[in-house]
Protein backbone atom coordinates (compact mmCIF):
# COMPACT_ATOMS: atom_id res chain seq x y z
CA UNK A 1 0.00 0.00 0.00
CA UNK A 2 1.13 3.53 -0.68
CA UNK A 3 1.27 5.91 2.25
CA UNK A 4 -0.26 9.39 2.67
CA UNK A 5 1.72 11.40 5.18
CA UNK A 6 0.16 13.61 7.84
CA UNK A 7 2.50 16.40 8.93
CA UNK A 8 2.56 18.81 11.84
CA UNK A 9 1.44 22.39 11.21
CA UNK A 10 4.11 25.01 10.48
CA UNK A 11 2.66 28.53 10.87
CA UNK A 12 3.57 30.60 7.83
CA UNK A 13 3.56 33.79 9.89
CA UNK A 14 6.56 32.47 11.82
CA UNK A 15 8.62 33.36 8.74
CA UNK A 16 7.48 37.00 8.66
CA UNK A 17 10.05 38.11 11.22
CA UNK A 18 12.91 36.74 9.12
CA UNK A 19 11.64 37.60 5.67
CA UNK A 20 9.38 40.59 6.18
CA UNK A 21 5.58 40.73 6.20
CA UNK A 22 5.58 41.75 2.52
CA UNK A 23 7.07 38.42 1.45
CA UNK A 24 4.36 36.49 3.31
CA UNK A 25 1.63 38.75 1.92
CA UNK A 26 3.02 38.01 -1.54
CA UNK A 27 2.83 34.24 -0.99
CA UNK A 28 -0.80 34.60 0.09
CA UNK A 29 -1.58 36.72 -2.96
CA UNK A 30 -0.02 34.15 -5.32
CA UNK A 31 -1.84 31.30 -3.58
CA UNK A 32 -5.25 32.99 -3.61
CA UNK A 33 -6.26 31.83 -7.12
CA UNK A 34 -5.15 28.30 -6.18
CA UNK A 35 -7.07 28.00 -2.89
CA UNK A 36 -8.75 24.65 -2.51
CA UNK A 37 -7.20 23.23 -5.65
CA UNK A 38 -5.67 19.80 -5.35
CA UNK A 39 -1.98 18.93 -5.49
CA UNK A 40 -0.35 15.55 -5.05
CA UNK A 41 3.37 15.20 -4.32
CA UNK A 42 4.80 11.73 -4.87
CA UNK A 43 8.23 10.40 -4.02
CA UNK A 44 9.67 7.10 -2.86
CA UNK A 45 10.66 7.71 0.75
CA UNK A 46 9.11 9.41 3.77
CA UNK A 47 12.34 9.73 5.74
CA UNK A 48 15.96 10.29 4.85
CA UNK A 49 17.31 12.21 1.91
CA UNK A 50 16.90 15.77 0.76
CA UNK A 51 13.55 15.33 -1.01
CA UNK A 52 11.78 14.02 2.08
CA UNK A 53 13.41 16.76 4.17
CA UNK A 54 12.05 19.43 1.82
CA UNK A 55 8.55 17.91 1.50
CA UNK A 56 8.31 17.63 5.28
CA UNK A 57 8.40 21.42 5.44
CA UNK A 58 6.92 22.40 2.07
CA UNK A 59 3.64 20.48 2.38
CA UNK A 60 2.57 22.03 5.74
CA UNK A 61 3.46 25.49 4.42
CA UNK A 62 1.33 24.92 1.32
CA UNK A 63 -1.53 23.86 3.61
CA UNK A 64 -1.14 27.18 5.42
CA UNK A 65 -1.96 28.81 2.09
CA UNK A 66 -5.17 26.75 1.90
CA UNK A 67 -3.99 24.54 -0.92
CA UNK A 68 -5.41 21.03 -0.84
CA UNK A 69 -2.05 19.26 -0.92
CA UNK A 70 -1.20 15.63 -0.18
CA UNK A 71 2.14 13.89 0.00
CA UNK A 72 2.03 10.26 -1.02
CA UNK A 73 4.93 7.83 -0.89
CA UNK A 74 5.10 5.02 -3.42
CA UNK A 75 6.04 1.59 -2.16
CA UNK A 76 8.45 -0.98 -3.50
CA UNK A 77 10.32 -4.11 -2.50
CA UNK A 78 14.04 -4.46 -1.95
CA UNK A 79 14.44 -5.50 -5.58
CA UNK A 80 12.80 -2.25 -6.74
CA UNK A 81 15.02 -0.06 -4.58
CA UNK A 82 18.14 -2.01 -5.66
CA UNK A 83 17.24 -1.25 -9.27
CA UNK A 84 16.37 2.41 -8.65
CA UNK A 85 19.59 2.94 -6.66
CA UNK A 86 21.52 1.57 -9.66
CA UNK A 87 19.48 3.82 -11.96
CA UNK A 88 20.25 6.78 -9.72
CA UNK A 89 24.01 6.15 -9.86
CA UNK A 90 23.87 5.46 -13.60
CA UNK A 91 22.03 8.72 -14.24
CA UNK A 92 24.81 10.47 -12.34
CA UNK A 93 27.20 8.91 -14.83
CA UNK A 94 28.42 5.79 -13.01
CA UNK A 95 29.10 2.74 -15.22
CA UNK A 96 26.13 0.36 -15.28
CA UNK A 97 24.74 -2.35 -17.54
CA UNK A 98 20.99 -2.41 -17.18
CA UNK A 99 19.37 -5.78 -17.84
CA UNK A 100 15.83 -6.28 -19.25
CA UNK A 101 14.91 -7.70 -15.85
CA UNK A 102 15.81 -4.38 -14.17
CA UNK A 103 13.40 -2.51 -16.42
CA UNK A 104 10.69 -5.12 -15.78
CA UNK A 105 11.05 -4.71 -12.00
CA UNK A 106 10.88 -0.92 -12.35
CA UNK A 107 7.74 -1.08 -14.48
CA UNK A 108 6.04 -3.71 -12.34
CA UNK A 109 6.27 -1.63 -9.15
CA UNK A 110 5.16 1.51 -10.94
CA UNK A 111 2.14 -0.40 -12.27
CA UNK A 112 1.33 -1.71 -8.80
CA UNK A 113 1.47 1.83 -7.35
CA UNK A 114 -0.78 3.13 -10.11
CA UNK A 115 -3.45 0.91 -8.59
CA UNK A 116 -3.07 2.27 -5.07
CA UNK A 117 -2.18 5.96 -5.44
CA UNK A 118 -5.02 8.44 -6.14
CA UNK A 119 -3.19 10.32 -8.96
CA UNK A 120 -6.30 12.42 -9.56
CA UNK A 121 -5.18 15.80 -8.19
CA UNK A 122 -5.23 18.79 -10.52
CA UNK A 123 -1.45 19.06 -10.18
CA UNK A 124 0.61 15.90 -9.77
CA UNK A 125 4.28 16.41 -8.90
CA UNK A 126 6.48 13.35 -9.32
CA UNK A 127 9.88 13.47 -7.63
CA UNK A 128 12.86 11.71 -9.19
CA UNK A 129 13.04 8.63 -11.41
CA UNK A 130 11.52 6.00 -9.09
CA UNK A 131 7.84 6.97 -9.71
CA UNK A 132 8.40 8.42 -13.21
CA UNK A 133 6.34 5.71 -14.95
CA UNK A 134 3.23 6.58 -12.91
CA UNK A 135 2.51 8.96 -15.80
CA UNK A 136 0.97 5.93 -17.53
CA UNK A 137 -2.06 6.47 -15.28
CA UNK A 138 -2.77 9.89 -16.69
CA UNK A 139 -5.97 10.29 -18.62
CA UNK A 140 -5.64 12.70 -21.58
CA UNK A 141 -6.43 16.31 -20.63
CA UNK A 142 -7.41 15.34 -17.11
CA UNK A 143 -4.76 17.04 -14.98
CA UNK A 144 -1.25 18.50 -14.99
CA UNK A 145 1.79 16.32 -14.40
CA UNK A 146 5.28 17.67 -13.71
CA UNK A 147 8.49 15.82 -13.01
CA UNK A 148 10.97 17.20 -10.46
CA UNK A 149 14.42 15.75 -11.07
CA UNK A 150 16.91 16.22 -8.23
CA UNK A 151 19.67 14.41 -10.15
CA UNK A 152 22.44 15.84 -12.30
CA UNK A 153 21.51 14.47 -15.74
CA UNK A 154 24.38 16.13 -17.60
CA UNK A 155 26.17 12.81 -18.28
CA UNK A 156 23.60 10.05 -17.82
CA UNK A 157 23.96 6.37 -18.67
CA UNK A 158 22.47 6.22 -22.15
CA UNK A 159 20.38 3.05 -21.72
CA UNK A 160 18.80 4.17 -18.45
CA UNK A 161 18.06 7.67 -19.70
CA UNK A 162 16.61 6.42 -23.00
CA UNK A 163 14.28 4.21 -20.99
CA UNK A 164 13.19 7.02 -18.65
CA UNK A 165 12.95 9.67 -21.34
CA UNK A 166 9.95 7.92 -22.88
CA UNK A 167 8.03 8.63 -19.68
CA UNK A 168 9.48 12.06 -18.89
CA UNK A 169 8.55 13.36 -22.34
CA UNK A 170 4.89 12.81 -21.54
CA UNK A 171 4.85 15.24 -18.60
CA UNK A 172 3.74 18.87 -18.87
CA UNK A 173 7.10 20.06 -17.61
CA UNK A 174 10.30 19.03 -15.87
CA UNK A 175 12.24 20.84 -13.18
CA UNK A 176 16.00 20.69 -12.65
CA UNK A 177 18.33 22.16 -10.01
CA UNK A 178 20.72 23.74 -12.53
CA UNK A 179 20.56 24.46 -16.28
CA UNK A 180 23.47 22.10 -16.96
CA UNK A 181 21.59 19.24 -15.26
CA UNK A 182 18.79 19.40 -17.85
CA UNK A 183 18.35 17.46 -21.11
CA UNK A 184 17.06 18.23 -24.57
CA UNK A 185 13.37 17.41 -24.10
CA UNK A 186 10.19 18.22 -26.02
CA UNK A 187 8.57 19.64 -22.87
CA UNK A 188 9.28 22.90 -20.98
CA UNK A 189 12.11 22.63 -18.48
CA UNK A 190 12.28 24.89 -15.45
CA UNK A 191 14.95 25.85 -12.96
CA UNK A 192 13.93 24.82 -9.44
CA UNK A 193 16.59 25.27 -6.77
CA UNK A 194 16.66 23.04 -3.73
CA UNK A 195 16.01 24.94 -0.53
CA UNK A 196 16.78 25.16 3.15
CA UNK A 197 14.36 26.00 5.91
CA UNK A 198 15.58 28.91 8.06
CA UNK A 199 13.43 27.71 10.97
CA UNK A 200 14.50 24.07 10.93
CA UNK A 201 16.82 22.73 13.62
CA UNK A 202 19.71 22.82 11.17
CA UNK A 203 19.35 26.52 10.42
CA UNK A 204 17.53 28.21 13.29
CA UNK A 205 19.33 30.68 15.55
CA UNK A 206 21.12 29.02 18.49
CA UNK A 207 21.97 30.23 21.95
CA UNK A 208 25.70 31.05 22.30
CA UNK A 209 25.81 28.74 25.33
CA UNK A 210 24.69 25.79 23.22
CA UNK A 211 27.33 26.53 20.58
CA UNK A 212 29.98 26.75 23.31
CA UNK A 213 28.83 23.39 24.69
CA UNK A 214 29.16 21.74 21.29
CA UNK A 215 32.65 23.18 20.83
CA UNK A 216 33.65 21.98 24.28
CA UNK A 217 32.23 18.52 23.60
CA UNK A 218 34.39 18.18 20.49
CA UNK A 219 37.41 19.91 22.12
CA UNK A 220 37.45 22.80 19.65
CA UNK A 221 39.08 26.06 20.76
CA UNK A 222 36.73 28.99 20.19
CA UNK A 223 39.60 31.49 20.48
CA UNK A 224 41.40 30.42 17.30
CA UNK A 225 40.12 30.39 13.69
CA UNK A 226 37.99 27.36 12.87
CA UNK A 227 37.85 26.02 9.30
CA UNK A 228 35.00 23.57 8.79
CA UNK A 229 33.78 21.18 6.14
CA UNK A 230 30.48 19.43 6.85
CA UNK A 231 29.97 16.42 4.61
CA UNK A 232 29.82 12.67 4.68
CA UNK A 233 33.13 10.82 4.36
CA UNK A 234 33.08 10.42 0.63
CA UNK A 235 35.99 10.80 -1.81
CA UNK A 236 33.87 13.11 -3.97
CA UNK A 237 33.82 15.56 -1.04
CA UNK A 238 37.66 15.43 -1.03
CA UNK A 239 38.24 15.49 2.75
CA UNK A 240 41.89 14.58 2.18
CA UNK A 241 42.23 17.58 -0.13
CA UNK A 242 40.74 19.75 2.62
CA UNK A 243 43.43 18.58 5.06
CA UNK A 244 46.13 19.36 2.49
CA UNK A 245 44.72 22.86 2.00
CA UNK A 246 44.59 23.30 5.79
CA UNK A 247 48.28 22.34 6.07
CA UNK A 248 49.21 25.13 3.64
CA UNK A 249 47.08 27.63 5.59
CA UNK A 250 48.58 26.41 8.87
CA UNK A 251 52.02 27.67 7.79
CA UNK A 252 50.64 31.20 8.07
CA UNK A 253 47.76 31.02 10.56
CA UNK A 254 47.30 29.21 13.85
CA UNK A 255 43.98 27.66 12.85
CA UNK A 256 41.98 24.48 13.44
CA UNK A 257 40.23 22.20 10.99
CA UNK A 258 36.92 20.47 11.64
CA UNK A 259 35.76 17.69 9.32
CA UNK A 260 32.32 16.57 10.44
CA UNK A 261 29.96 14.19 8.74
CA UNK A 262 27.46 11.40 9.18
CA UNK A 263 28.69 8.16 10.69
CA UNK A 264 30.52 5.83 8.34
CA UNK A 265 29.53 2.73 10.34
CA UNK A 266 26.88 1.51 7.87
CA UNK A 267 28.73 2.59 4.75
CA UNK A 268 31.71 0.37 3.82
CA UNK A 269 33.17 2.94 1.43
CA UNK A 270 32.67 5.70 3.99
CA UNK A 271 34.63 3.69 6.53
CA UNK A 272 37.54 3.34 4.10
CA UNK A 273 37.50 7.07 3.36
CA UNK A 274 37.37 7.85 7.08
CA UNK A 275 40.54 5.74 7.57
CA UNK A 276 42.23 7.67 4.76
CA UNK A 277 41.22 10.93 6.40
CA UNK A 278 42.57 9.87 9.80
CA UNK A 279 45.82 8.73 8.18
CA UNK A 280 46.18 12.10 6.45
CA UNK A 281 45.34 13.94 9.69
CA UNK A 282 48.25 12.10 11.32
CA UNK A 283 47.13 12.89 14.88
CA UNK A 284 47.39 16.63 14.30
CA UNK A 285 45.86 18.01 17.53
CA UNK A 286 44.26 20.86 15.58
CA UNK A 287 42.33 18.59 13.21
CA UNK A 288 39.01 17.32 14.55
CA UNK A 289 37.46 14.48 12.56
CA UNK A 290 33.93 14.13 13.90
CA UNK A 291 31.59 11.26 13.12
CA UNK A 292 28.10 12.57 13.71
CA UNK A 293 24.91 10.49 13.90
CA UNK A 294 22.97 10.34 10.61
CA UNK A 295 20.61 13.07 11.90
CA UNK A 296 22.41 15.64 14.05
CA UNK A 297 20.97 18.97 12.88
CA UNK A 298 21.71 20.98 16.02
CA UNK A 299 25.36 19.89 16.12
CA UNK A 300 25.79 20.70 12.41
CA UNK A 301 24.14 24.06 13.00
CA UNK A 302 26.42 24.82 15.97
CA UNK A 303 29.60 23.81 14.13
CA UNK A 304 28.66 25.95 11.13
CA UNK A 305 27.85 28.94 13.34
CA UNK A 306 31.11 28.58 15.27
CA UNK A 307 33.22 28.43 12.09
CA UNK A 308 35.44 31.24 10.91
CA UNK A 309 35.32 29.91 7.34
CA UNK A 310 33.24 27.08 5.87
CA UNK A 311 34.80 24.95 3.15
CA UNK A 312 33.09 22.75 0.54
CA UNK A 313 35.92 21.34 -1.50
CA UNK A 314 33.89 18.78 -3.46
CA UNK A 315 35.24 17.17 -6.62
CA UNK A 316 31.66 16.58 -7.83
CA UNK A 317 28.47 17.89 -6.32
CA UNK A 318 24.74 17.83 -6.89
CA UNK A 319 23.59 21.17 -5.58
CA UNK A 320 25.50 21.23 -2.29
CA UNK A 321 22.96 22.62 0.16
CA UNK A 322 25.57 22.70 2.94
CA UNK A 323 26.84 25.79 1.12
CA UNK A 324 23.42 27.48 1.43
CA UNK A 325 23.29 26.47 5.09
CA UNK A 326 26.62 28.18 5.76
CA UNK A 327 25.75 31.26 3.72
CA UNK A 328 22.45 31.63 5.56
CA UNK A 329 24.52 31.80 8.77
CA UNK A 330 26.51 34.66 7.19
CA UNK A 331 29.66 32.55 6.99
CA UNK A 332 32.34 33.22 4.37
CA UNK A 333 32.55 30.11 2.19
CA UNK A 334 35.42 28.78 0.08
CA UNK A 335 34.13 26.11 -2.27
CA UNK A 336 34.91 24.23 -5.47
CA UNK A 337 33.35 25.44 -8.70
CA UNK A 338 31.45 22.19 -9.34
CA UNK A 339 27.79 21.14 -9.72
CA UNK A 340 25.35 23.63 -8.23
CA UNK A 341 27.95 25.41 -6.08
CA UNK A 342 28.63 28.32 -8.53
CA UNK A 343 24.90 29.09 -8.45
CA UNK A 344 25.26 29.72 -4.72
CA UNK A 345 28.78 31.10 -4.67
CA UNK A 346 29.09 34.02 -7.06
CA UNK A 347 32.85 34.41 -6.99
CA UNK A 348 33.99 37.45 -5.03
CA UNK A 349 30.38 38.44 -4.35
CA UNK A 350 28.84 35.74 -2.15
CA UNK A 351 31.95 33.66 -1.47
CA UNK A 352 35.14 32.47 -3.11
CA UNK A 353 35.51 29.66 -5.62
CA UNK A 354 38.61 27.50 -6.03
CA UNK A 355 39.70 24.76 -8.40
CA UNK A 356 42.55 23.05 -6.51
CA UNK A 357 44.07 22.36 -3.09
CA UNK A 358 46.43 25.30 -3.53
CA UNK A 359 43.61 27.59 -4.70
CA UNK A 360 41.45 26.59 -1.74
CA UNK A 361 44.33 27.30 0.66
CA UNK A 362 44.99 30.66 -0.96
CA UNK A 363 41.36 31.78 -0.69
CA UNK A 364 41.22 30.74 2.97
CA UNK A 365 44.43 32.68 3.69
CA UNK A 366 43.01 35.67 1.86
CA UNK A 367 39.88 35.66 4.00
CA UNK A 368 41.80 35.16 7.25
CA UNK A 369 43.95 38.17 6.26
CA UNK A 370 40.93 40.29 5.32
CA UNK A 371 38.19 39.66 7.87
CA UNK A 372 36.29 42.71 6.67
CA UNK A 373 35.93 41.10 3.22
CA UNK A 374 34.89 37.85 4.87
CA UNK A 375 32.11 39.71 6.70
CA UNK A 376 30.92 41.34 3.48
CA UNK A 377 30.88 38.03 1.58
CA UNK A 378 28.97 36.43 4.43
CA UNK A 379 26.37 39.21 4.41
CA UNK A 380 25.92 39.01 0.63
CA UNK A 381 25.75 35.23 0.86
CA UNK A 382 22.96 35.52 3.43
CA UNK A 383 21.02 37.85 1.13
CA UNK A 384 21.56 35.51 -1.83
CA UNK A 385 20.11 32.56 0.10
CA UNK A 386 17.23 34.70 1.35
CA UNK A 387 16.42 35.69 -2.22
CA UNK A 388 16.71 32.29 -3.88
CA UNK A 389 17.31 29.24 -1.69
CA UNK A 390 14.79 29.32 1.15
CA UNK A 391 11.81 27.01 1.46
CA UNK A 392 9.47 29.99 1.07
CA UNK A 393 11.06 30.79 -2.30
CA UNK A 394 10.60 27.18 -3.32
CA UNK A 395 6.95 27.38 -2.36
CA UNK A 396 6.67 30.54 -4.42
CA UNK A 397 8.16 28.74 -7.44
CA UNK A 398 5.62 25.94 -7.09
CA UNK A 399 2.76 28.45 -6.87
CA UNK A 400 4.08 30.20 -9.97
CA UNK A 401 4.39 26.91 -11.81
CA UNK A 402 0.83 25.87 -10.96
CA UNK A 403 -0.51 29.29 -11.99
CA UNK A 404 1.45 29.09 -15.25
CA UNK A 405 0.14 25.61 -16.02
CA UNK A 406 -3.43 26.55 -15.14
CA UNK A 407 -3.37 29.76 -17.17
CA UNK A 408 -1.74 28.00 -20.10
CA UNK A 409 -4.62 25.58 -20.26
Amino acid sequence: MSETLALARIPLDDYAELLGAGEIEELRALAKPLRGRTIEMINSTAIGGGVAEILNRLVPLAEELELNIKWNVMTGGEDFFDVTKSFHNALHGAPYHASPKDFEIFLAYNERNRGTLPLDAEFVVIHDPQPAALIEARKPGSNFWVWRCHIDLSHPNRAVWDFLEKFVSRYDGAMFSAPEFSRQLPIPQYLFYPAIDPLSEKNQELEPEFIAQVLARFRIDSQRPILTQISRFDRLKDPVGVIRAYRIVKRYFDCQLVLAGGSASDDPEGAIVLKEVLREADNDPDIRVIELPAWAPLEVNALQRASTIVIQKSLREGFGLTVSEALWKRKPVVASAVGGIPIQIIHKHTGLLAHSVEGTAYQIRFLLSHPEIAVKLGEHGHQHVKESFLITQKLKRYLTLFLTLARGS
Binding site: E26, L30, L191, I346, H349
Partner: protein, 219 residues
Protein backbone atom coordinates in the same frame (compact mmCIF):
# COMPACT_ATOMS: atom_id res chain seq x y z
CA UNK B 1 -3.64 66.46 0.57
CA UNK B 2 -4.13 65.54 -3.10
CA UNK B 3 -6.32 62.56 -3.88
CA UNK B 4 -5.81 60.72 -7.14
CA UNK B 5 -8.78 59.95 -9.33
CA UNK B 6 -7.19 56.67 -10.39
CA UNK B 7 -5.69 54.79 -7.46
CA UNK B 8 -2.27 53.18 -7.52
CA UNK B 9 -2.81 49.41 -7.47
CA UNK B 10 0.01 47.41 -5.91
CA UNK B 11 0.79 44.24 -7.81
CA UNK B 12 3.39 41.58 -7.27
CA UNK B 13 5.25 39.40 -9.68
CA UNK B 14 6.80 35.97 -9.61
CA UNK B 15 9.10 34.50 -12.22
CA UNK B 16 9.69 30.94 -13.25
CA UNK B 17 13.00 30.37 -14.95
CA UNK B 18 12.58 28.29 -18.08
CA UNK B 19 15.76 26.57 -19.26
CA UNK B 20 16.32 27.14 -22.95
CA UNK B 21 17.96 24.87 -25.48
CA UNK B 22 20.79 27.27 -26.30
CA UNK B 23 24.13 27.55 -24.57
CA UNK B 24 27.47 29.20 -25.31
CA UNK B 25 31.00 28.01 -24.66
CA UNK B 26 32.81 30.85 -26.45
CA UNK B 27 32.28 34.54 -27.07
CA UNK B 28 31.38 33.77 -30.68
CA UNK B 29 28.67 31.38 -29.45
CA UNK B 30 27.47 34.01 -26.99
CA UNK B 31 26.97 36.37 -29.90
CA UNK B 32 24.99 33.74 -31.82
CA UNK B 33 22.88 33.13 -28.74
CA UNK B 34 22.23 36.84 -28.25
CA UNK B 35 21.12 37.15 -31.85
CA UNK B 36 18.75 34.19 -31.69
CA UNK B 37 17.43 33.87 -28.16
CA UNK B 38 13.93 34.97 -27.23
CA UNK B 39 13.04 38.39 -25.83
CA UNK B 40 12.14 36.61 -22.60
CA UNK B 41 15.72 35.36 -22.44
CA UNK B 42 17.25 38.82 -22.89
CA UNK B 43 14.84 40.04 -20.20
CA UNK B 44 15.82 37.20 -17.87
CA UNK B 45 19.56 37.81 -18.10
CA UNK B 46 19.36 41.60 -17.77
CA UNK B 47 16.26 42.97 -16.03
CA UNK B 48 15.50 39.89 -13.98
CA UNK B 49 19.12 39.54 -12.85
CA UNK B 50 18.99 43.02 -11.45
CA UNK B 51 16.04 41.93 -9.32
CA UNK B 52 17.40 38.57 -8.20
CA UNK B 53 20.86 39.92 -7.30
CA UNK B 54 19.59 43.23 -6.00
CA UNK B 55 21.78 43.06 -2.88
CA UNK B 56 24.94 43.35 -5.01
CA UNK B 57 25.87 46.86 -5.98
CA UNK B 58 29.36 46.31 -7.36
CA UNK B 59 30.03 44.99 -10.83
CA UNK B 60 27.05 42.66 -11.17
CA UNK B 61 24.50 44.20 -13.47
CA UNK B 62 23.65 41.43 -15.90
CA UNK B 63 24.38 37.73 -16.46
CA UNK B 64 26.20 38.26 -19.75
CA UNK B 65 28.75 40.62 -18.17
CA UNK B 66 29.20 38.32 -15.18
CA UNK B 67 29.83 35.26 -17.38
CA UNK B 68 32.27 37.13 -19.62
CA UNK B 69 34.15 38.23 -16.51
CA UNK B 70 34.17 35.01 -14.52
CA UNK B 71 34.29 32.37 -17.25
CA UNK B 72 36.14 33.98 -20.16
CA UNK B 73 38.29 36.38 -18.12
CA UNK B 74 37.70 39.25 -20.57
CA UNK B 75 37.41 42.15 -18.17
CA UNK B 76 37.25 44.77 -20.92
CA UNK B 77 34.26 43.20 -22.64
CA UNK B 78 32.61 42.50 -19.28
CA UNK B 79 32.87 46.18 -18.38
CA UNK B 80 31.29 47.24 -21.66
CA UNK B 81 28.39 44.80 -21.21
CA UNK B 82 27.91 45.84 -17.58
CA UNK B 83 27.81 49.47 -18.62
CA UNK B 84 24.61 48.97 -20.64
CA UNK B 85 22.02 50.60 -18.43
CA UNK B 86 18.53 49.12 -18.73
CA UNK B 87 17.05 52.51 -17.84
CA UNK B 88 18.11 53.70 -21.29
CA UNK B 89 15.86 51.16 -23.00
CA UNK B 90 12.14 50.93 -23.48
CA UNK B 91 12.27 47.82 -25.64
CA UNK B 92 14.08 44.50 -25.53
CA UNK B 93 14.86 44.81 -29.24
CA UNK B 94 16.96 47.92 -28.63
CA UNK B 95 18.76 46.33 -25.71
CA UNK B 96 19.48 43.19 -27.76
CA UNK B 97 20.90 45.31 -30.59
CA UNK B 98 23.36 46.96 -28.23
CA UNK B 99 24.35 43.71 -26.53
CA UNK B 100 25.04 42.17 -29.95
CA UNK B 101 26.95 45.25 -31.11
CA UNK B 102 29.26 45.24 -28.09
CA UNK B 103 30.06 41.52 -28.37
CA UNK B 104 30.34 41.65 -32.16
CA UNK B 105 32.74 44.62 -32.05
CA UNK B 106 34.89 42.84 -29.48
CA UNK B 107 35.00 39.60 -31.49
CA UNK B 108 35.95 41.56 -34.62
CA UNK B 109 38.72 43.44 -32.81
CA UNK B 110 40.07 40.35 -31.01
CA UNK B 111 39.21 37.34 -33.21
CA UNK B 112 41.68 35.13 -31.31
CA UNK B 113 39.55 35.54 -28.16
CA UNK B 114 36.23 34.89 -29.92
CA UNK B 115 36.78 31.14 -30.21
CA UNK B 116 38.50 30.50 -26.89
CA UNK B 117 36.66 28.04 -24.65
CA UNK B 118 35.13 29.43 -21.47
CA UNK B 119 35.60 27.75 -18.10
CA UNK B 120 31.88 26.97 -17.89
CA UNK B 121 29.16 27.25 -20.52
CA UNK B 122 26.54 29.98 -20.50
CA UNK B 123 22.97 28.64 -20.53
CA UNK B 124 20.29 30.84 -22.02
CA UNK B 125 17.18 30.82 -19.86
CA UNK B 126 13.87 32.68 -20.02
CA UNK B 127 11.62 34.33 -17.48
CA UNK B 128 7.98 33.24 -17.33
CA UNK B 129 6.08 35.99 -15.54
CA UNK B 130 3.02 35.69 -13.35
CA UNK B 131 1.51 38.82 -11.81
CA UNK B 132 -1.17 39.01 -9.15
CA UNK B 133 -2.79 41.98 -7.41
CA UNK B 134 -1.92 42.43 -3.76
CA UNK B 135 -5.38 43.83 -3.09
CA UNK B 136 -3.92 47.10 -1.83
CA UNK B 137 -4.64 50.51 -3.37
CA UNK B 138 -3.49 54.06 -2.71
CA UNK B 139 -5.23 57.32 -3.56
CA UNK B 140 -3.17 59.67 -1.40
CA UNK B 141 0.54 60.10 -0.76
CA UNK B 142 0.10 58.74 2.77
CA UNK B 143 -1.59 55.59 1.50
CA UNK B 144 1.07 55.24 -1.16
CA UNK B 145 3.85 55.53 1.40
CA UNK B 146 2.19 52.91 3.58
CA UNK B 147 1.91 50.49 0.65
CA UNK B 148 5.47 51.12 -0.52
CA UNK B 149 6.92 50.53 2.94
CA UNK B 150 5.43 47.03 3.12
CA UNK B 151 6.08 45.74 -0.39
CA UNK B 152 8.02 42.55 -1.05
CA UNK B 153 11.23 42.78 -3.07
CA UNK B 154 9.49 41.28 -6.09
CA UNK B 155 6.66 43.77 -6.00
CA UNK B 156 9.06 46.71 -5.60
CA UNK B 157 11.14 45.36 -8.50
CA UNK B 158 8.02 44.99 -10.65
CA UNK B 159 6.87 48.58 -10.14
CA UNK B 160 10.26 50.26 -10.04
CA UNK B 161 12.43 48.35 -12.53
CA UNK B 162 10.59 46.08 -14.96
CA UNK B 163 7.78 48.61 -15.37
CA UNK B 164 9.89 50.59 -17.85
CA UNK B 165 9.35 47.91 -20.48
CA UNK B 166 5.63 47.73 -19.79
CA UNK B 167 5.15 51.50 -19.89
CA UNK B 168 7.49 51.85 -22.88
CA UNK B 169 8.65 55.03 -21.16
CA UNK B 170 11.90 55.97 -19.44
CA UNK B 171 10.16 56.04 -16.11
CA UNK B 172 8.64 53.66 -13.59
CA UNK B 173 5.17 52.91 -12.21
CA UNK B 174 5.73 54.96 -9.05
CA UNK B 175 6.94 58.09 -10.83
CA UNK B 176 4.25 57.70 -13.48
CA UNK B 177 1.48 57.71 -10.87
CA UNK B 178 3.02 60.38 -8.66
CA UNK B 179 3.15 62.73 -11.66
CA UNK B 180 -0.10 61.79 -13.39
CA UNK B 181 -2.20 60.79 -10.40
CA UNK B 182 -1.09 63.26 -7.73
CA UNK B 183 0.46 65.96 -9.89
CA UNK B 184 3.77 65.70 -8.01
CA UNK B 185 6.09 66.00 -11.01
CA UNK B 186 9.18 67.04 -9.03
CA UNK B 187 8.86 64.15 -6.60
CA UNK B 188 8.23 61.81 -9.54
CA UNK B 189 11.40 63.01 -11.19
CA UNK B 190 13.47 62.59 -8.01
CA UNK B 191 12.14 59.05 -7.57
CA UNK B 192 13.08 58.23 -11.15
CA UNK B 193 16.63 59.38 -10.51
CA UNK B 194 17.35 56.88 -7.74
CA UNK B 195 20.20 54.76 -9.11
CA UNK B 196 19.16 51.12 -9.21
CA UNK B 197 22.70 49.98 -10.06
CA UNK B 198 24.45 51.48 -7.06
CA UNK B 199 21.61 50.80 -4.63
CA UNK B 200 20.05 47.59 -3.41
CA UNK B 201 16.27 47.23 -3.66
CA UNK B 202 16.11 47.93 0.07
CA UNK B 203 18.25 51.06 -0.09
CA UNK B 204 16.34 52.26 -3.17
CA UNK B 205 13.10 51.86 -1.29
CA UNK B 206 14.55 53.70 1.72
CA UNK B 207 15.50 56.59 -0.56
CA UNK B 208 12.01 56.68 -2.05
CA UNK B 209 10.48 56.77 1.42
CA UNK B 210 12.77 59.65 2.42
CA UNK B 211 11.78 61.60 -0.69
CA UNK B 212 8.11 61.00 0.03
CA UNK B 213 8.51 62.05 3.67
CA UNK B 214 10.19 65.26 2.57
CA UNK B 215 7.22 65.94 0.26
CA UNK B 216 4.75 65.20 3.05
CA UNK B 217 6.50 67.65 5.37
CA UNK B 218 6.12 70.34 2.69
CA UNK B 219 2.37 69.85 2.59
Amino acid sequence: MNTAETPFEFVTVSYLTRIGNQSAGTLAELLTGLENCSDASIFHHTYQTLGSHHFLTEGFSNDFAQWVLSDTNRNDLAEQLAALDIRDYVSIAALRRDLCRVVSDFCAAFPHFAGQSALERFYFCESVEVTVPLGRKARTLDEFREGLAHLSHASFYFHFISSRLRLQLQTNDFSHWLADGLGLATLADSVNHVDIYTNTLDSSRAKLLRLIDRERRKT
